[in-house]
Every structure is written in structure tokens, then in C-alpha cells.
Symmetry: C2
Subunit: 194 residues, 2 copies
């Protein structure tokens, strides 16, 4: 039971930090969302910073699970990169409302000069390193990091503008564009491999 309550708190905080921002979300907001007593709450977390660390850990684990699933279900590296690209469509409604959960938390914590800024950046690093591995498997060699960062740049930019303009057609157009670019990279790698 104690574990379930802790998990509920972290999930509620995760949603509130994403939809309202970290600073704007108070300890009381999280307690109210979980509907537990202050005593029970303090049993699990003493400060908002402790909750933040637990939220970042949860987000890291969730993303690791997602990437591992793609590693299993998609046989080609290009197919896995495409799964990553399509997140902006899969999560479109939330992204249009609140931007990217990873990028917006990173930026918010950096502005606060918060002690957990580096920890939050680890999620971005997780995506980067996973994308590097896919481009390496694709045969991009020394260009793998550059290509990985290009995809990550694109995804962050799309999230910010999807949120600002709320234009679904734009998101789909940008997905088509980057998939076209990816197809070019695959062709190049195949030609170099022959």
C-alpha cells in the first residue's frame, strides 16, 4: 500500500509539473490531486525537490522502457528512428497543450539554476545516445552523433511550435519532411556499404 501511495504521488506530480510547470505546482496541489492526508504525504516526501527527483527517475525509467520496446519490436534501425519521430504525432494533443515534457522541464530547471538540472538533462542524453546507436547501426559511422542531434533538434522544435501554433497539419508536414531526410540518410548509408 505504501508503495502504491508513493507511486500515486509521483504520477500526480509528473502530470502537474508537465501541465502547469514545476515552480507553479505546490506541495499542496500535489497532495490535493492525490487526495491523501498531509501526514501520509510527508511520510513519503519531505520537500518538493525530493518529489522532483522521483519524477525525473520515473520519466527516465518510462523512456528507457519505451526505447527498449522499440528495440524489440522494430527490426531495422531506420524503423526505430521513425518510432522516435512519430512521438510528436502519438502525443500530439498533449504536446500542443504543454510542449515536450523533457525539453520544457530542462529549460525550466535551468532558469531556476536548480540542483536537479543535470539529472533532468539525462533524459535528453538518453534519447541522444539511443539515436546515436540507431544511426551507427544504420552505418552512419562518424556522422551518427550529428544525425542523432539533428533528429532531436527537430523533435524539440516541432514540440515548441506545435504548442505555439496548435497546427496539426504543420506537425504532419514536418514528420513527412524529416522522414524524407531519413530515407536519404538510409540510401546514402546503403550506397556507402555496397
Amino acid at each position: 500500500m505504501a508503495k502504491a501511495t508513493r507511486q500515486q504521488i509521483v504520477e500526480a506530480a509528473d502530470n502537474l509539473f508537465y501541465s502547469h510547470g514545476y515552480v507553479q505546482t505546490s506541495f499542496a496541489d500535489i497532495a490535493a490531486a492525490v487526495k491523501i492526508s498531509r501526514g501520509n504525504f510527508y511520510y513519503h516526501f519531505k520537500t518538493k525537490d525530493e518529489i522532483l527527483d522521483a519524477v525525473i527517475d520515473k520519466r527516465l525509467t518510462d523512456r528507457e522502457t519505451l526505447l527498449a520496446k522499440w528495440d524489440e519490436t522494430s527490426s531495422s534501425p531506420a524503423g526505430r528512428i521513425e518510432c522516435f519521430i512519430r512521438i510528436v504525432i502519438v502525443n500530439q494533443a498533449k504536446i500542443m497543450a504543454y510542449g515536450c515534457p523533457v525539453g520544457t522541464l530542462t529549460t525550466e530547471l535551468a532558469k531556476l539554476d536548480h540542483a536537479s538540472t543535470d539529472k533532468a538533462n539525462e533524459i535528453m542524453t538518453l534519447f541522444r545516445d539511443w539515436l546515436i546507436r540507431q544511426f551507427e547501426a544504420l552505418g552512419c559511422g562518424g556522422k551518427s552523433e550529428e544525425n542523432a542531434l539533428h533528429v532531436l533538434t527537430w523533435s524539440q522544435g516541432v514540440a515548441t511550435l506545435a504548442q505555439a501554433f496548435k497546427d496539426e497539419a504543420y506537425v504532419h508536414r514536418e514528420v513527412d519532411r524529416i522522414l524524407e531526410w531519413l530515407a536519404g540518410i538510409v540510401r546514402e548509408a546503403q550506397q556507402a556499404g555496397n
Copy 2:
């Protein structure tokens, strides 16, 4: 003198909202930065929301001035788009510390469901419409909006990742990439025009 004080307040608030975020910046922080009495401060602004609106107005005017300068100093539309692209290098130090002032405010206000969210988005719209005009002048016709949004997507993505990874070489590499893309667009437009 009254005008100068008002201007000082808005400039201090602009910097604080950018470097620490809107929510995190208090009325008292801004007064302390400007070093004026509470009475003098209240003479100019009654609420933080009023200051926010003045900051957004200032940012809009600043960007309009910058774009007008590029319209004057650069004779070709491609040269003007390149000026826009190079902002991420010109403002690199600040972007690495705090991200893009336009994108991060837009996201923060959206999460707050703040009444000035649409007003903040006008800066993004200003950039978009200016870029559309440049691509139209380049001869991109029906592709102008798509290309404009592609450049804006790129710039927002670069700002977010420059802030997360603080990697100067990455920023320069991404600028080279998008300039190469732009050169391709210019060639296409010239061929279509012949």
C-alpha cells in the same frame, strides 16, 4: 524621468523573466533590480501581469526593429533568412544559459494558462510571417509558409538543445546544415524561375 523609470522596470523585468522565468520572478525582485522605492514602482505598475504585457510589447518592438534592420541592410531574401538563422550564434551564450526568450516564455505562459499567452505567441507569429515574406520573395510560392515554419522549427530546436547540452560545435554544425538546406531551396527557386 517617469518614462525612463518605466523603461528601466520593463528592461529589468525582461531580463529576469528570461533568466529566471516569469513565475519565479516576483514584483519585489524586479523592484530590487531597478533599485526604486515601492511607491515609485506602483506608480508605474500595479501588478506583475501589467509588467508582463509591457515586456511582451517591448520584445515585439525590439524584434520588429531587428527584422526591419535586416530588411534594409541585406539586399537578398536568402541573406535575410541567413541573418535570422545566425541569431543562434550571435546570442549563443545567452541561449546556452536560458534557451530562446520567445520559445521559453510562450511555453511557460501556456502551462500557466495565462491570459497573455496569445500575446506572447505574437512574437512567434511575427517571425513566421517575416520568414514567409522572405521565402515568397525568393520565389517559393506555395511552399513559403512550410519553409518558414521549417526554419522556425529548426531555430527553436537548436535553442532547446544548445541549452541542454551547451555544445558550441553542435550549434555551428546545425547552422551549417540549415544554410546548406537554404542553398538548395535557393537553387530550386532559381531553376523554377528560369
